[in-house]
Symmetry: C2
Subunit: 460 residues, 2 copies
């Protein structure tokens, strides 16, 4: 047998059990908060027809095509791209959700609130914070015909509630409005607003001077227009502050679409001023944000973790008015997507997030000898019946060895059956051992489940 140790696949991260405890905790909190806000859980299949995926985005080369091996062998794959029924792994959860809404519109109640926590796949070059397989957690509100604007202020509140329950760095969510930006560019009379947006979108990585140079030399803008675009893109605000409106007006560009965008953004910023109550989650206007994917039409969001800005946005989204349309009805929506893997992996790799143990087990029931394993199993069943995660020692080794077995896994308690049928439980951290009844004993609440904690210095 060709035995060997397999190596990890670059871009397809897997977690050790203690890291997975952290991820499970985060996913539990996400789900709990989403459900508290009345979002229904939806899951879509992992694959979509290639035609559905390519219609929406510009990232065709990053898509993973999926074919039965038998098919590949029979037909070759040269016609893979042309064929209507070629399947591909979804690269986000918004496009599949839009398809799901169209497919099931008659059986859903609108406005429809859904959350969706799933893996997605992109064939990008792996680097820190960028993976080929990763988990996203999305919330969206979709309505039939028209969507009330207050949902655009509601979603940041949902994410603020998520982050308030997680031991993560503080988050700043930047909000902008695509209509505002497009209206501004139209007001300037620019020929190719999309090209300008692409350059301005680099402001989080490239200096304003270089972006200005690209606008003039690359896109062909006049100096004054380039300056106006940069003045717009460098406007930011404080939570709740709509001072940016005056900032935009001061540039002197006028356009109907710009006015509409300004009103919309001002409304979102004004009603999210108190979101997050404090420094842990702040929502601010930032007029540089445009989002790469082309389906956003109004409000756009990006959020970064303080001290980890180099990871890029960990939570983004926006309003899309035309993503789902079946020819009779349009289903506009607004959504936010949290990059679970992007948020957690860098923190786990730096040892900043830790689980108190790599197993759910709170109690190990010792086995005196193999003939009495059934008695240990009965005690374990009694503990489980009251919600105590319990396993039975795998072998009737010396008690010292059984205690070390628990210690290696940070299992806090070891349970001993006495010859007279009574029991004792030892806290192996303190060494304290006391009489206990499996029908009534409970561990302290903080030991019942693995705890997840931030172990680093809080970033500035």
């Amino acid at each position: 047998m060709a035995a060997r140790t397999p190596r990890p696949l670059s871009g397809f991260p897997e977690l050790l059990p203690e890291e997975r405890v952290v991820e499970e905790h985060v996913v539990d909190v996400l789900r709990e908060v989403f459900e508290l806000h009345g979002f229904a859980g939806v899951e879509t299949r992992a694959v979509e027809p290639l035609s559905v995926l390519l219609r929406k985005g510009e990232i065709d080369k990053e898509v993973y095509a999926v074919r039965r091996l038998a098919e590949v062998a029979e037909e070759g794959a040269t016609d893979a791209e042309g064929s209507e029924d070629v399947l591909a792994l979804h690269y986000d959860l918004t496009v599949p959700f839009a398809r799901y809404v169209l497919e099931n519109a008659g059986r859903l109640s609108f406005p429809f609130r859904r959350y969706q926590i799933q893996k997605v796949w992109r064939g990008e070059r792996p680097q820190e914070g960028r993976f080929r397989e990763f988990r996203q957690a999305d919330v969206d509100v979709v309505d039939a015909g028209s969507l009330a604007p207050h949902h655009e202020a509601e979603l940041p509140q949902v994410m603020a509630d998520v982050f308030a329950r997680l031991p993560l760095p503080p988050v700043v969510m930047q909000v902008n409005n695509r209509r505002l930006v497009e209206g501004f560019y139209r007001g300037l009379g620019l020929a190719d607003p999309a090209a300008v947006m692409r350059e301005v979108d680099k402001l989080d990585k490239v200096s304003p001077a270089r972006v200005r140079a690209s606008l003039v030399d690359g896109v062909g803008l006049g100096e004054r227009d380039a300056d106006a675009c940069l003045r717009l893109a460098t406007l930011t605000g404080e939570p709740g502050s709509t001072a940016f409106v005056e900032g935009v007006r001061a540039i002197g560009v006028r356009h109907e679409l710009l006015e509409q965008g300004l009103d919309e953004l001002a409304a979102v910023v004004a009603s999210t001023g108190s979101v997050g109550s404090g420094e842990r989650f702040r929502v601010v206007a930032d007029l540089s944000v445009t989002r790469g994917l082309d389906y956003y039409t109004g409000t756009v969001y990006e959020a970064r973790m303080t001290g980890f800005e180099h990871l890029g946005s960990v939570c983004s989204g926006g309003r899309y008015d035309a993503l789902a349309d079946d020819g009779r009805t349009t289903y506009p929506g607004v959504g936010l997507s949290l990059g679970v893997t992007r948020t957690l992996l860098p923190l786990l790799q730096r040892g900043l997030l830790r689980a108190s143990r790599p197993t759910p087990t709170a109690v190990l029931v010792a086995v005196t000898d193999e003939e009495h394993r059934a008695a240990s199993s009965a005690a374990a069943s009694a503990l489980r019946a009251r919600g105590v995660a319990t396993e039975v020692a795998p072998s009737a080794a010396k008690f010292g060895k059984q205690i070390r077995f628990a210690d290696r896994r940070s299992i806090p308690f070891v349970w001993f059956l006495q010859e007279d049928g009574s029991s004792e439980v030892k806290d192996i951290r303190s060494g304290e051992q006391v009489a206990a009844d499996p029908a009534s004993w409970l561990p302290p609440a903080e030991d019942a489940r693995p705890a997840v904690t931030w172990t680093g210095e809080p970033p500035a």
Copy 2:
């Protein structure tokens, strides 16, 4: 825009929100029980190198190959099968887990107990209970070097605890032992035991007479050997009963491996006699069970739901001694895999399992007019802070319309803010409306979350 209503993909089932509530409940129970038994959650990437998958099973034609679209376009796929680094979607969770154990052996504590609940993909022809994308829930215990046999009796207990908490039909788990069967065939001196096993494996679909004919005419067995094989395969037992041992001995075949298998199976059956406590989950010896996949070496399990036997096994597994081997150490294991999709979809499609509502929302806070939406949001926040799933009405329509909005989703309570700042809550089922304080009111426990119930007649 080419707008149209998309159609479902055959074999890739998706659930409506109310059906997904049922599935989420089942997955929650699986996870809860697995964790109570001290299994750690592990998740593996969706893809494996094709070489890893093909080495283990015989199902190469059912595997989905995965390639970046860019790669397909550049290279064609004619060399897809030959290339070392071609990726494919995993078709079960056992092979990826064995690879995970080898890859991380130095960072795991053995015996290692893990559960894994994920989607898997097989390019099979879709039919009832058989899908191309479906969810499995696996529990395995893997040790380094040797694995104690008591784990083979432990796993049925874990699954019995799962089924005890779910509103599903009664389950019969059949247990057999591969060594027993192989030893029996060797004792008979059969030339091709695998060919015999394949025919015998059809006994759940084909009559004994036809299996006998295939053994004689197809495999070339003598009449007496065919009869002996059939006598073995039709031996079954009652929970806890090892009477099958005498039944096997009466056939008169002797072989060392047969004796070992008999001892092992008798031990598992004897110590699972009281599992499931009653008619809801029974573990019995059934000597026809062999399992198709070739990595099982000892105990094998299959479980069927009473009244839904035509779905085939909904929970199966076994002991594998040689699946994971890095050249220095072998990691034997034993596992059980529950087919979540296979179990639930047929019951959902028949309307036998229902959720009480398609949304987590327990309370809808009415909005008097859009100017006072913030007051409704504040009441909703106060309710959520104490764990009550709450959403705010999407529009300040007439109250009758807001109540109908809740009713359409079976949201049980609507919350009204009074002009004097007080609140009232209406149970829209009874019509009763009472004064309530968002800082202290709680819904009855049975309304807090959607309930999942069996709505059909219990099958005989």
